[in-house]
Amino acid sequence: MMVPIRCFSCGKQLAGVYEEFKKKVEKGEKPEKAMDDLGIKRYCCRRIIFSHVDLIDEISKYPR
């Protein structure tokens, strides 16, 4: 729903760079380069950022 705060495997904090990553990719930068620049080096962390789908805005339309 929201980007995981830490990497599932190694425990690195990732959520803090997610918004910057999203901005860079929307500007047309290659995801791999954006991740390198943000210091996401290991593939365990990269898959978390790369495969994340932010659904909270969709779900926010139907509050409890």
Binding site: M1, P4, I5, A15, G39, I56, P63, R64
Partner: protein
Amino acid sequence: MTISIKKIDEKGNVSRYLVKGTSPALINAIRRSVMLHTPCLAIEDVSIYQNGSVLFDEMLAHRLGMLPIKTDKTYKLGDKVKLVVEKEGPCTVYGKDIKSTDPKIDITDKNIPITKLSKNQKLKVEMQAVMMPGKEHAKWQPAIVSYNEIPALAVSKECNGCADCEKACPINIIEMKGKKPVLKDQYNCTLCGACVDSCGKEALKLSFNKEEYILAIEPVAGLSQKEVIEGSIKAMVEKSKGFAKSLQKLK
């Protein structure tokens, strides 16, 4: 045998050190001691007074628990600190919105999104962070630590200087010096072995020094690299002392 440590480089949050005069067993003991026995702060108890966001209370508490908290040196095992967050939508609640009752304690990464609130939704949460070792839960790991071997390229007489290995290296750290390949940057070698495989004469071999290792430390809890290693060694010494004490009672 004395163990020495020297800094190799620092990239962002990750520092790499060259440790000499050690063994895989010892350097792994340091790594495990950081992971399991070096305490740091993490949120353990969460009281939710109001949670209007679409995230369920359990998910919210889990996200808060994962947050990196700047740990102060003066804090000892079992010490507690209270944190509060109060927000009203529409907004995104970030790490920076969490207020601590102790000015020394803070959230290290201020840009972490915790939850999103839409109009008229309120969030009021009180949290308690506790000093604990990583043995209890991975959220109390103060750093991500790894170590690796340092390679050296052993070239035998069969080498004809064809430079195939230079071309094969994916990160271009092999250089032809005269007619022999040389490893330019042994600290950044990824140990992929492409050079060894590319050699038609089977003249290359990667050899490793059994007493030198690279120790990479990436702190996540606001402790410095030095404090992390110091903490791990202290934990190891205390454990050995306890063992020595019980050994004396042995008949």
